[in-house]
């Protein structure tokens, strides 16, 4: 007789002989064989006992045979199980692909939704990885390498001044070989590279020779420099080129070594090339790496400051010895710093005594943004990671909802499959396979979005970091893949769970009409979660947009958008006071001849860039008081005639400077309003006497009052400034402002070319739009506003799609019920109201939950905002309105569809 089971599919479904059964089956088969053999022998006349012996003899070694068969079958079963698994996966994939081909719109919606969510996360991961997670390229033993921070202790705790310190401090710390096997210092200033009209300021890295020991790398060609080439005061003129610059400027030729490169004031011999991607311990690309002594000389233009505690440019990096804990390193650095501070006090009398100042130092992460002194951009970025994660959760909830809707639509199909005997496990696997496949496609889309969209975003918002391509970064790819897998499982969870519970009999009985309508509680919950999270993000977006708006509308006291700041750099050209001053006057004249230039004037310093802070002495006022106005810092700004007009700073009283205010003329000054108010309260300041620095200085009479300017940061309002004619205060220094008619950056190059012609020898000018400086300071809010808005809009769109699809599905499913209602006399208006009402009820719940969550989270985001309360009523109201409008829009189409249901159509469905 033939076996009953011969259809392959069924055979697989009913397969016998799993691992546990193997032995039993072998025994059964052998027993069967022995019995049949015995029966045959007995029939031929052998006595049963002899027949049994003969049967066993024919088998041979029975025990060994049994062992061999069991082993063979075990192998076979394991192999079949593997094949089954792959086969099932392949089958599920084919099933999922077929489903997607049948409903391409659905697949595209899901892939796009997940793609946006994953793309947002991959972008943020790329940013945070670069700023906070990934150690610098080639760095060896990254865990033991630290930036050193400095600070001091006050009654309120430790005040950080960040990592910048002097080369002298480095020399004091380098002796600590007990705790550190490398102590090294670096600077990364912008220095003029090249000669003639090609000259450009570029980032160079200045390092001590021990810096190379931090990295496990070899030069691409040539060699690195030694400590013998890093001798005070100016070091040897040798340079190691950065890889990218070598490729760009020397076409990657090995014979670049031995050539010279003009940096700052000197010709540097190229001795080697650093490997690709090397950026030292900073984030930006570097043109060349010089001995730190040489770099400091070129950056300052003078050899003296190297020996001074006052030049605080370098940063120190240490590597802990194995076995020295971070706490021990902190303690050692603090002790070293205190010893160094004691020495500094000897050389610089007037420092606060060490007992009062309490110097402190410590070992921070090698990544600047992960330690004290992190940039606000890094903080905002961390927030955005959370935001991106929320976007992904919303996307998952939405996709889950869509899949759920589809699973409901397929209830009958699923019931049939269950009835045919498919295992629930297989069914779940199938549904999960489908969602994971969609998520993997979404992940691919997400990486593409991160590559194109994210690239633009990163370069625009955090420009001074050298971003490599996202797709070239295996960590981002791995993250994208992990996010896709997690999203797929998350989105597939609810539908799979539902399918697993579905009741075969009732689904089959329900017939074509798919039973009575009942809203799924899971779907409603998912919808509310999406809505609430969107509200949170939109509130965040609103708060940052308000902040950015406020910070942009801060009256700076000058027109940043139409200003260029020109800085003459003399390099090796030495000029006396008079020729230096005349050169600057010639630059002003040359600038005024450039078409598109409206005004130009000289100035001693640039707002936001620092300058001279000199306290004033006012006869009749207590110096203890005048020394403390403006928080102890009042800015002295030398300015030429036309300065206020060029800057766009309004004069509130009196006059500005004129050509008559010469060195020999009566000494005059103009005060900022806050300073005038601080000194004389309401009284008229014009004509009063102000002395610079000391009581012994001559009287300057106040001739005018100017509006306040934003100088150091946007939040400290009463920045105090006083102006003196440049002719009366160091006329040899400073630069000039050029005011253009149009946007400043458009004319920057024309101005630079015109002014460069005036520069003698290897001297050159740099021309920078003032808006760049201002923009850098605003970036924190700019970044927050842009990213929160993008993510918030994304979330809103996704949530709206979710609401639409759920409502539309509900209407489609209720066609019969709606038809009955119409037949019973309901009007179109009633049906619209009913459908809209349901959408809005859900929205109201989501809104309440979302606003509550936003208010709770607001406390934490408050420090990042600018003059905006996290409970800003305007923002909350706007978000509420936006959500309601979106909800109405999303449910309007299904509502209209509901109103057009004809009773006959509905009843025919029966």
């Amino acid at each position: 007789m033939r076996p009953i089971l011969s259809w392959p599919g069924l055979r697989r479904a009913f397969r016998l002989g799993r691992a546990a059964d193997v032995e039993r089956e072998v025994d059964e088969e052998l027993t069967h064989h022995l019995e049949l053999t015995m029966r045959e022998l007995v029939e031929r006349g052998l006595p049963p006992e002899a027949a049994r012996r003969e049967a066993e003899r024919r088998i041979g070694d029975l025990a060994a045979t049994r062992r061999r068969l069991v082993a063979l079958d075990r192998e076979r079963v394991a192999g079949e199980r593997r094949a089954d698994w792959w086969g099932a996966l392949l089958q599920d994939l084919r099933y999922a692909a077929r489903g997607m081909r049948r409903r391409p719109g659905f697949a595209v919606a899901v892939v796009l939704t997940l793609g946006l969510g994953i793309g947002a996360n991959a972008t943020m991961f790329g940013i945070v990885d670069r700023l906070l997670l990934r150690p610098p390229a080639y760095l060896a033993d990254a865990g033991r390498v630290h930036r050193v921070w400095f600070g001091h202790r006050t009654s309120e705790g430790t005040v950080f001044f960040g990592g910048n310190t002097s080369y002298r401090r480095y020399l004091d710390l380098v002796a600590d070989t007990a705790h550190f096997d490398v102590v090294t210092a670096f600077v990364d200033p912008s220095v003029a590279v090249g000669l003639g009209t090609d000259v450009q300021e570029m980032h160079v890295l200045g390092v001590t020779a021990s810096y190379w020991r931090l990295f496990a790398m070899r030069p691409v060609v040539g060699r690195f420099f030694s400590e013998a080439e890093n001798q005070e005061p100016t070091g040897s003129p040798v340079a190691v080129l950065g890889y990218d610059y070598w490729r760009a400027a020397y076409a990657g030729r090995a014979d670049a070594v031995g050539k010279t490169l003009h940096v700052g004031q000197r010709d540097y011999t190229i001795i080697g090339v650093a490997p690709a991607g090397f950026m030292g311990t900073s984030m930006g690309n570097v043109v060349a790496i010089l001995p730190i002594t040489a770099a400091l000389f070129e950056a300052t233009g003078r050899p003296e400051p190297i020996r001074s505690y006052g030049l605080t440019w370098p940063e120190i990096v240490v590597r802990r010895r194995a076995g020295v804990s971070v706490a021990a390193a902190d303690a050692a650095l603090t002790l070293d710093f205190q010893r160094s501070y004691a020495q500094q006090s000897v050389e610089m009398p007037g420092l606060p005594p060490i007992g009062e100042f309490q110097p402190r130092a410590g070992a921070a992460s090698i990544l600047k943004d992960a330690g004290p002194g992190a940039s606000p951009e890094a903080e905002v970025s961390l927030w955005l990671v959370g935001v991106a994660a929320i976007v992904l959760i919303i996307a998952c909830a939405n996709v889950g909802n869509l899949l759920l809707a589809r699973a409901f639509g397929r209830r009958r199909e699923i019931a049939v499959r269950l009835a045919l005997g498919i295992g629930r496990g297989r069914l779940l696997a199938q549904l999960l396979t489908e969602s994971v496949l969609l998520a993997v496609l979404g992940g691919a889309a997400g990486l593409a979005i991160a590559q194109w969209g994210g690239g633009v975003l990163r370069a625009a918002l955090i420009p001074d970091v050298d971003w490599s391509s996202m797709l070239a970064d295996p960590r981002v790819i791995a993250f994208g893949a992990a996010a896709a897998l997690a999203a797929g499982l998350l989105a597939g969870l609810a539908p799979a769970w539902h399918a697993g519970r579905s009741d075969v009999a009732s689904s089959l009985k329900a017939g074509v009409r798919e039973g009575t309508f009942h809203r799924s509680r899971t779907r409603t919950a998912l919808l509310v979660v999406q809505g609430a999270l969107s509200v949170v993000l939109l509130v965040g977006a609103g708060l940052f947009v308000r902040s950015f708006d406020k910070v942009r509308s801060v009256r700076l006291g000058y027109d940043a958008d139409r200003l260029l700041w020109v800085n003459p750099n003399m390099r090796s050209v030495k000029l006396d006071t008079m020729p230096a001053s005349q050169l600057r006057d010639r630059l002003v004249a040359a600038a005024l001849r450039v078409p598109g230039v409206e005004a130009s004037a000289r100035a001693g310093s640039v707002p936001l860039q620092g300058g001279w802070w000199w306290n004033v002495v006012v006869p009749g006022l207590d110096t203890a008081y005048t020394n403390h106005i403006g928080g102890g810092l009042v800015l002295l700004q030398p300015a030429s005639p036309g300065y206020f007009q060029a800057m766009g700073t309004r004069l509130l009283r009196g006059r500005g400077f004129t050509a008559a205010d010469q060195a020999a003329s009566p000494l005059v000054t103009v005060l900022s309003q806050a300073m005038a108010t601080a000194l004389w309260k309401g009284a008229d300041p014009i004509g009063r006497c102000v002395k610079i620095g000391a009581d012994t200085a001559p009287c300057r009479s106040v001739v005018g009052v100017a509006e306040d300017i934003v100088d150091n940061d946007f939040e400290s309002k009463a920045e105090m400034t006083y102006y003196v004619p440049v002719a009366q205060w160091h006329p040899e220094g400073g630069g000039l402002f050029v005011r253009t008619r149009g946007p400043a950056d458009r004319d920057a190059e024309a101005v630079r070319t015109a002014l460069q012609r005036q520069m003698p020898g290897d001297a050159y000018v740099t021309v920078r739009p003032m808006s760049d400086l201002v923009g850098t300071r605003m970036r924190q809010w700019d970044l927050g506003a842009a990213m929160f808005t993008i993510f918030g809009a994304l979330a809103l769109v996704v949530a709206a799609i979710g609401l639409y699809s759920v409502t539309a599905y509900g209407v489609a499913q209720r066609t019969h019920e709606l038809g009955v209602r119409v037949a019973l006399g309901a009007e179109a208006r009633d049906l619209v109201r009913m459908v809209l009402g349901e959408g809005l009820r859900l929205t109201a719940v989501a809104l309440v939950l979302g606003l509550a969550a936003a208010l709770l989270a607001g406390r934490f985001v408050a420090p990042l905002l600018f003059e905006t309360s996290p409970r800003d009523p305007l923002v909350l109201a706007a978000v509420a309105a936006l959500i309601c409008v979106t909800a109405v829009a999303a449910s309007a189409v299904p509502a209209m569809r509901a109103s057009r249901v004809a009773p006959s159509v509905a009843l025919r469905d029966e």
């Binding site: 007789m1 033939r2 076996p3 009953i4 089971l5 011969s6 055979r11 016998l16 089956e25 059964e28 088969e29 052998l30 069967h32 064989h33 049949l36 053999t37 045959e40 024919r58 088998i59 041979g60 070694d61 029975l62 060994a64 045979t65 061999r68 068969l69 063979l72 079958d73 192998e75 076979r76 192999g79």
Partner: protein
């Protein structure tokens, strides 16, 4: 038991495949068919025969299922798969060429 020829290396598989060429059989059936067809000329240890069946099942030349045998007992039936049929063809052709060649050699005096 007559001449009791030793089975040539590698021919057991061919024998079993041939036994299954006419349709599914259980192990005892295969053994009996071989015995009857060869008139008991070949001495085959039945343990080795079962090992061959299971090994070929693992290689997917044979597919096995449990069915009900003539005496109303559960028995494991083997049948050729497509791969098994190809194997039978290939091995039969190879063996024929081999036997013909051997025969020629032996006929030359």
């Amino acid at each position: 038991m007559a001449a009791d020829l030793e089975l040539l290396q590698g021919t057991l598989d061919l024998l079993v495949l041939k036994a299954l060429a006419w349709g599914p059989r259980h192990g005892y059936d295969v053994a009996r068919w071989v015995r009857e067809t060869t008139h008991d000329d070949l001495r085959i240890e039945e343990g080795a025969l079962y090992t061959a069946l299971h090994r070929m099942e693992q290689r997917r030349w044979l597919a096995a299922e449990w069915g009900v045998s003539d005496n109303n007992r559960r028995a494991k039936y083997y049948q050729l798969t497509a791969a098994g049929r190809r194997e039978l063809k290939a091995q039969a052709a190879a063996f024929s060429r081999y036997a013909t060649a051997m025969f020629k050699v032996l006929q030359t005096a």
